[in-house]
Subunit: 207 residues, 2 copies
DNA sequence: TAGATTGTTAATCGATTAACAATC
DNA sequence: TAGATTGTTAATCGATTAACAATC
């Protein structure tokens, strides 16, 4: 059995960017693109794009480039986004509401199947076609439905606690909107959405 | 005149993370920390933290570590977030509403001072204490108020167009919520908020 | 065919880490 | 003082780029 070649995480991180750019090209009516064209759009060298893709196979044709639809399909398969994922959302405040209502998740393959909150006045209300469930049911619902992805949209001080419960219930990937660093066991992945951190990174450069 | 030493962007990108972790430590009542403690929390080596900080000066004391409040202050100065920034928001749909209402921006030094939309039925309505302004006024308002930061929360197909206007009006940093890559002239910075891309990056790793 | 572009190798570049003298 | 931790140097590691044979 061949050892699974492990691909640098930084490469994996660029695949969704390629996916996004390819979708855009497809939307614009293109059928074929090249590493050069793609690189131009993304501000990435063509060599890097070819190198990145070469980790997974050969997807292009010399002299021609890449069939956009084919490459899209291959990338989706690699990232395992060739099927829909069920997602649990914790937190039904302003942010949770916005997330639940945002159509872009479903559009791109992530279906929010449950929303939890701990506030008695929110529990039972409807949000985007779902009933807001009590946080106490989190573990049961997630285990039963075998949900593997969670989104944390609770105030910072509850985020670690919520994370621990998600992990215990079997969640393997967490998208964290709270501005704190979460501690998770190995094998569980966390990504952070912190718009303010992005702004702070840019203000450094403003005269 | 010494040439301004230019610091790797990847280092700049970590400073907001340090800022966030230090704030958290301060909130928890700590006065002092070390590169080791900070690194543990963030999953970063202590050597890297010391190296990163060394680009900007000496902020610690051998044998003791870092005075949290002092380091916080220094980092804020370096990132230029030791004063409030005015921000313009374009797009008053669901996402724009959520952004406008989210308290975390102001809390951390970014004040949304104007919201624009092109839909006649939204223009004039109130949103978080502001009147929604017509997109046609974007250029004037931003130039006059010398706003340097913009947030783009419009559908993907309008995002580039809006960006061009923002840039023309003098905006130097753009936080883009639309899932497309934007083209901007040198000297203008863009950061992307694309939660789906983060999810796609994690699904790769799920058995 | 001639031109274009891939996939891949080797060279370069840059970032991270280990180690330690300095010193609080 | 003894222990701890900084700031920095040099070594290591890994990622990016340049270049080109293969080939459509």
């Amino acid at each position: 059995m061949a050892a699974p070649v492990d691909i640098p995480d930084i490469v994996i991180g660029r695949l969704p960017i390629y996916l996004r750019a390819l979708s855009q090209l497809a939307d614009e009516g293109h059928d074929i693109t090249s590493s050069h064209e793609l690189g131009q759009r993304l501000g990435i060298s063509s060599a890097q794009i070819r190198k990145d893709l070469s980790h997974f196979g050969e997807f292009g044709k010399q002299g021609t480039g890449y069939q956009i639809n084919h490459l899209l399909g291959q990338l989706k398969q690699i990232l395992q986004v060739d099927h829909e994922w069920a997602v649990a959302l914790v937190g039904a405040g302003d942010l949770g509401h916005a997330i639940a209502r945002y159509g872009g998740f479903l559009e791109r393959g992530f279906r929010i199947v449950a929303v939890f909150d701990s506030s008695p006045e929110k529990i039972g209300r409807e949000l985007n076609g779902m009933q807001i469930l009590p946080a106490d049911d989190l573990s049961t619902v997630i285990s039963e439905q075998q949900v593997k992805i969670g989104m944390v949209a609770v105030p910072a001080r509850y985020a670690q606690e919520v994370t621990d419960e998600l992990v215990k219930a079997g969640v393997r990937a967490i998208l964290n909107y709270a501005p704190i660093t979460l501690v998770v066991p190995k094998g569980v992945h966390v990504q952070y959405i912190d718009p303010v951190a992005h702004l702070q990174r840019m203000t450094y450069y403003i005269d």
